[in-house]
Point group: C2
Chain length 285, copies 2
């Protein structure tokens, strides 16, 4: 992309992802870009202000700034998306404006974009595979997306707008991959949402049976690795679980069946049956 | 401990733990120690021989060398322990000989030691919290136990022998902690055995539904962290699961109940109920 043409970018939600994206875009495009930061949290706005990377900072996507924006990144949780899309649709969005997001499920977001955004407005569903258990603007890192995958999954509107979003993600160092929203949600139920289900559960059960002293004193790397993401935001993950309900319930059901098989084999002291229960059969390729 | 008095140490099983322990002891005690390595695998013996750290290498604990040993470390899986204890008990073990182990469960090992070893022989149940998904002598690392916890859980026999084992673990850099075998097995069902159950299950289900290309291409750190230990030896872990059957079945039952609660909340799209299901309540202190 021609760096001269990047224009004005509004980033709604300045948490770990939105904050990192703001800093990454500013780092890449410097004076070729104007970044308008939006966050409902006053403390976050003050933290963002200190970086001097933002042309403006607002507590809500005000019409004047929305109407000046070429690209609008929605970096909020899925629950806040309908309200924001509605408010955007009430403004005179630019002719070539592109709206895009970073939420962890892609089927629901595309249907919301189709429902709420004007027909002429381009929308690109996006998912940078770069999150962590961190949250908040103070954890923002301009290098967060370098050498990471960005998945474009689902879009409506102009091809040029779709390419513009992919180009920005390439600009901040990510490798861009295309996928259908359906495929995306199936894959990430297993690669991200189910791991969170398991991690939250292990942390919960262990903390209910052992004291903090016992856990801190004796946990090895296996426990630490498995519970790292259990410190993630529970309200954010509750929304993700609901948004990917169909796939996630199917995967939880498979997991329960696995536990039942394993229990039976352990109860019988049957080594071979346990090995069969825990052994992976890798699909080709 | 007086380093001059460490004497002859036999290490039965030269895998990741036994191999690392051999190298760590040699590194600490140098010429004050003679290490006799035992492994039924010929390849392992050849790999061990190349290090030139062993005074002798045998494919089984032969009477002559057993009778010369001051300390015998059993670094094999729990399943092989009864056979080895039986063969040791048929030799003229030294008057002050100490037998000790490194297996991941401690109630069963102590009862096996009491059953099979001569009354006069001291036994110390031990668990270095330093394992990983690695296996085999080639993964041996003399620094593996540095700044790690060693748990002494269950012993029979002479106090001097018990202190000697703890002293060796301190010598290789570990912090020594005492615990009852019962307490140990309850704690490690949650901190190690259940994490392995979850990791094996996640790897199995994901590999049954996604291709290797999809997993390798899109997995972020959450999936990678949660499945790292699923590459551990399934036969070793089958034995551990059986050995800690009572605690592990109780913890799996709790996990199933957690999944059922979570399923219900997701099915109802109930954010608050999901947050309640995944939220940790930390016990004091």
């Amino acid at each position: 992309m021609n760096k001269d043409k990047i224009g004005t970018i509004m980033i709604v939600g300045l948490g770990h992802i939105g904050g990192s994206l703001s800093l990454a875009i500013k780092k890449t495009y410097k004076d070729k870009v104007k970044i308008i930061g939006v966050d409902r949290n006053k403390k976050t706005l003050l933290q963002a202000k200190k970086t001097k990377k933002f042309a403006a900072l607002l507590s809500a996507p005000r019409a004047k700034e929305v109407e000046a924006s070429d690209v609008i990144f929605l970096c909020v949780s899925i629950k806040q998306i309908p309200t924001i899309l509605k408010s955007l649709s009430k403004t005179k969005l630019k002719q070539n404006a592109v709206v895009t997001d970073v939420v962890s499920t892609k089927e629901e977001i595309l249907s919301l974009a189709k429902k709420f955004l004007p027909k002429k407005t381009t929308f690109v569903g996006g998912h940078p595979i770069a999150g962590s258990e961190a949250s908040g603007f103070l954890s923002a890192n301009p290098k967060l997306f370098e050498k990471k995958i960005f998945i474009a999954a689902g879009a409506k509107g102009r091809r040029a707008g779709i390419l513009k979003i992919k180009s920005i993600w390439k600009g901040v160092g990510s490798k861009v991959v295309n996928m259908s929203p359906k495929e995306h949600d199936k894959i990430f139920s297993l690669l991200s949402h189910t791991p969170h289900v398991l991690s939250f559960g292990l942390g919960k059960i262990t903390n209910s049976k052992l004291s903090k002293k016992e856990i801190d004193g004796y946990a090895g790397t296996s426990y630490k690795d498995l519970t790292r993401i259990s410190s993630s935001s529970t309200s954010l993950w509750a929304e993700i679980f609901i948004s990917n309900k169909k796939n996630l319930l199917a995967d939880i059901a498979l997991f329960k069946r696995y536990l039942v098989d394993l229990e039976k084999a352990i109860r019988k002291n049957n080594n071979r049956q346990i090995i069969k229960a825990i052994n992976q059969t890798t699909r080709k390729p």
